[in-house]
C-alpha cells in the first residue's frame, strides 16, 4: 500500500469519525453518557500520550502529570472567567486581582505554556536524577504545586481552595476531539522527527546517546517541557469539560490513573495510549460504576459493592497487567491501517519496535 493511499485512507477515517460524532450530537441528548465518555476519553488520551512521550519514548520515569494538568486547568480558569462574574467567583477575595478575560483558545495555549514554564524550572534540579528518584521528585513537586495553588495568600489569583467556575466552555464533543487530536498529532510528528530519534536513543542507552553527540540535559529538558505543555493543555480541556475546577482534584491518584492508561496501552505506543484511555474511561465512568454503589437484589445487599470498591478493582487490574501482560495492549507497536491491511492480505511487513510511523 502506497504512502499516499494510506494518508488518504487515514484522512477519510478521521473525517468519517468526526462526521459520525457530528450526527450523533444532532440526535442524542447532550447529557448522554456517550458524550461524557468521549470527551473525557479524548482529554485522557492526550495526557496519556504526553506522559508516554516521557516514560515510553525518552525513558524518563516522571510522575508529575497531575501537577502540570493543575497548572493548565487553573491558567485556563483564571484567565477566562468573564469580568462580570469575577466578583461572584472570587467573593472571598474582593473579586480577585485579574480583571480581564481572554479568548478560550488563547487561554488554552497559555495554559500549556505556563505548565511548560513550571516544567522548565522543576526540570533544572530534577532531571539529573535517575529513574526512581526522578519519579519521587516529580511526584513531590506535583504535590507542592497543588499546595501552592490552594494557598490563601494567592487567593486573589487562584481563589485559594475555592472552586473556579463560570468560565466559558465548548460543549461539543467535536471540539475535544479536534483539540486533542491536533495535540497528539504534533507529539507524533515530533517523535518521528530527528528529535524523537534522539529521545529514543536516550531511552535505549544514555551513555551511548551522549557518545553520539546528544546533549542529555538539553534533550531531557525538551521532552519534559513539551510533555508538560501538553499535560497543561489537557488540564485546560479538563477544566472546560468539568465547568468548574478545584486544586484538590489533582491528587497523585490522578497521575496513577494516567500511568495505568499508559501501561495498559503499552509503554512506547501512542495508539496504545489512545485506545487504552477510552477503554479506561468507558470502564471507570460507565461500565464499572455499579461497583461503587450499594446494590440490593430484592432485600439482599450485594457484598463489597460500595463507594471506593472501583479503586480496588483497578488496583487488581494493574497487578494483573504488571504480572502477566507487561507489554500492555500494543507493546511498543502502533496500530495502523497499513498494519491491518498487511495482516488481512497476509503480506509480511517487518516489525520495527520503538514507536513506528503511523498517525
Amino acid at each position: 500500500m502506497s504512502k499516499k493511499k494510506e494518508i488518504i485512507i487515514n484522512v477519510a477515517l478521521i473525517g468519517g469519525l468526526l462526521l459520525i460524532l457530528f450526527i450523533l450530537e444532532r440526535f442524542l441528548p447532550a447529557t448522554s453518557m456517550l458524550f461524557t465518555v468521549l470527551k473525557k476519553g479524548a482529554i485522557y488520551a492526550l495526557v496519556a500520550v504526553s506522559m508516554n512521550l516521557l516514560n515510553g519514548f525518552t525513558g524518563l520515569f516522571s510522575l508529575g502529570q497531575a501537577g502540570f494538568m493543575l497548572v493548565g486547568a487553573y491558567t485556563y480558569g483564571v484567565l477566562t472567567i468573564p469580568v462580570a462574574e469575577r466578583a461572584n467567583v472570587y467573593m472571598y477575595f474582593d473579586g480577585g486581582l485579574i480583571q480581564f478575560a481572554l479568548h478560550p483558545i488563547i487561554a488554552i495555549i497559555l495554559a500549556g505554556a505556563l505548565a511548560g514554564v513550571f516544567a522548565y524550572l522543576i526540570g533544572l534540579p530534577v532531571l539529573r536524577l535517575k529513574s526512581d528518584y526522578l519519579a519521587i521528585a516529580t511526584l513531590g513537586f506535583a504535590e507542592i504545586i497543588r499546595a501552592i495553588f490552594q494557598w490563601d495568600k494567592l487567593g486573589p489569583i487562584t481563589n485559594g481552595s475555592n472552586l473556579l467556575r463560570s468560565y466559558p466552555s465548548y460543549k461539543s464533543v467535536l471540539f475535544y476531539f479536534v483539540a486533542s487530536g491536533i495535540c497528539i498529532a504534533l507529539i507524533v510528528m515530533m517523535i518521528n522527527s530527528t528529535y524523537g530519534r534522539a529521545f529514543k536513543a536516550i531511552r535505549d542507552d544514555e551513555v551511548a546517546a551522549e557518545a553520539m553527540g546528544i546533549n542529555l540535559a538539553h534533550h531531557k529538558r525538551i521532552a519534559f517541557v513539551v510533555s508538560s505543555f501538553f499535560a497543561g493543555v489537557s488540564g485546560a480541556l479538563l477544566a472546560m469539560y468539568q465547568t468548574s475546577v478545584q486544586a484538590a482534584m489533582f491528587k497523585s491518584a490522578m497521575t496513577y490513573e494516567i500511568l495505568l492508561i499508559v501501561v495498559i496501552g503499552g509503554i512506547g505506543s501512542i495508539t496504545g495510549s489512545c485506545i487504552s484511555a477510552f477503554l479506561f474511561i468507558i470502564l471507570s465512568e460507565w461500565l464499572l460504576r455499579f461497583l461503587d454503589t450499594d446494590t440490593y437484589i430484592g432485600s439482599f445487599h450485594v457484598p463489597l459493592l460500595r463507594s471506593g470498591f472501583r479503586k480496588v478493582v483497578f488496583a487488581v487490574i494493574i497487578m494483573i497487567i504488571v504480572l502477566f501482560f507487561r507489554q500492555g495492549i500494543m507493546g511498543t507497536k502502533e496500530f495502523s491501517i497499513s498494519g491491518i491491511y498487511h495482516k488481512i492480505t497476509g503480506k509480511k511487513k517487518k516489525e520495527v519496535k520503538g514507536g513506528g510511523a503511523d498517525e
Partner: protein, 280 residues
C-alpha cells in the same frame, strides 16, 4: 608531520581510595594506530572514559588537536584522598559533557556493546546525524526540514554501503551476531565523522576468523576515513599486527611503551602478564 592528535597529561583517576589510572602520560599522533594493553582491571577503559569526559579525572589534563579539552585537580573530599603527584600543575577545571567531546571529533565504541537496542541498524547510524542538525524543535516537528532529513538518511545509507552493512540495514541491531554488532557499533561511531576513533576491545567475543577480518577492517577505515585510532585490545595477534605503537598499563601505571617489537620483549610486560596468569 607527527603532530599529536591526543595527549594525555599526568592523568590520575581515583575512585575514592581506588587509583584506577595513576599519572598516565601518552600521545597518539595523526594517522597512527596506537594500542593500549594491560591485564584486567589495569585501568584501560577508565582512561577512555576520562578522554571522552564520562568521568572527570581526579588530576591532569587531556589535549585534543593541541587544545586542552579536559582538565581537573583534586577538589573537595578528593583533596584529602588524593595521593598522586603533579597536583599543583593543573589549576583550571574543564569538564565538558561527553557529547561535546564527540562534537569535537572523538568517537568511541564500548567494551560491552551499547547499541540502541530497540532500533534498526539504519536508525542506530542515523542518530549520529542529529548533532549536525540545523533545524530546531519547531521546524523538525512540523517536518519543514525535509531536505535536511533526506540528506541525513542519504548520509546514513552511504555509510552503510561503504561499510558493507546494507544487507542488515533494517534488522534490529541487537538481533545480529556478535561480530556484526561490533561492526555496527564502529559504523555508528564513524557516522559522527570523527578524526580520532577510540575502540574498546573491538575483537572481544570474536572467533579467529572474525578477528582476522576485523584487523583488515580497522586498517581500511583508518585509511578511508583518514582516522587516528586509539585502541584497547586483548588479542595480541591483532595488536602486534596493526599497532604502530603500544602502551602497556598495569595497576593504573604505565609500565612500558614503544613499537610492538620493543613491548613484546620488555621483561616488565612479560611479568605483568605472567603475574596475571598465575592469579587466574
Amino acid at each position: 608531520m607527527s603532530e599529536n592528535v591526543l595527549k594525555i597529561d599526568h592523568v590520575t583517576m581515583q575512585f575514592g581510595g581506588v587509583v584506577a589510572v595513576d599519572d598516565l602520560n601518552l600521545e597518539v599522533n595523526r594517522g597512527e594506530i596506537v594500542s593500549l594493553i594491560g591485564p584486567n582491571g589495569a585501568g584501560k577503559t577508565t582512561a577512555f572514559n576520562v578522554v571522552t569526559a564520562v568521568y572527570p579525572p581526579t588530576n591532569g589534563a587531556v589535549y585534543f588537536e593541541g587544545k586542552r579539552v579536559v582538565e581537573n585537580h583534586p577538589r573537595g573530599k578528593m583533596k584529602k584522598l588524593y595521593n598522586g603527584g603533579h597536583a599543583d600543575e593543573y589549576m583550571k577545571t574543564i569538564q565538558p559533557t561527553p557529547d561535546k567531546i564527540t562534537k569535537l571529533g572523538i568517537a568511541r565504541t564500548f567494551q560491552n556493546i551499547r547499541l540502541f537496542k530497540s532500533q534498526t541498524v539504519f536508525d542506530n547510524i542515523l542518530i549520529a546525524e542529529h548533532m549536525r542538525r540545523t533545524s530546531n524543535l519547531f521546524t523538525a516537528t512540523l517536518h519543514l526540514n525535509g531536505s535536511e532529513e533526506a540528506a541525513m538518511r542519504k548520509e546514513a545509507d552511504r555509510l552503510l554501503h561503504i561499510l558493507e552493512l546494507d544487507d542488515v540495514r533494517d534488522e534490529l541491531a541487537t538481533s545480529l551476531p556478535y561480530g556484526k554488532q561490533r561492526r555496527v557499533e564502529i559504523a555508528r561511531a564513524l557516522a559522527t565523522k570523527p578524526s580520532l576513533l577510540l575502540l574498546d576491545e573491538p575483537a572481544a567475543g570474536m572467533n579467529p576468523q572474525e578477528t582476522v577480518e576485523l584487523t583488515s577492517f580497522i586498517g581500511r577505515i583508518r585509511d578511508d576515513f583518514h582516522l587516528t585510532i586509539f585502541m584497547i585490545e586483548h588479542h595480541m595477534d591483532l595488536v602486534m599486527e596493526i599497532s604502530d605503537r603500544i602502551y602497556v598499563l598495569d595497576f593504573g601505571k604505565l609500565i612500558s611503551h614503544g613499537t610492538p617489537d620493543v613491548v613484546q620483549n620488555d621483561p616488565k610486560v612479560i611479568s605483568a602478564y605472567l603475574g596475571v596468569q598465575e592469579d587466574e
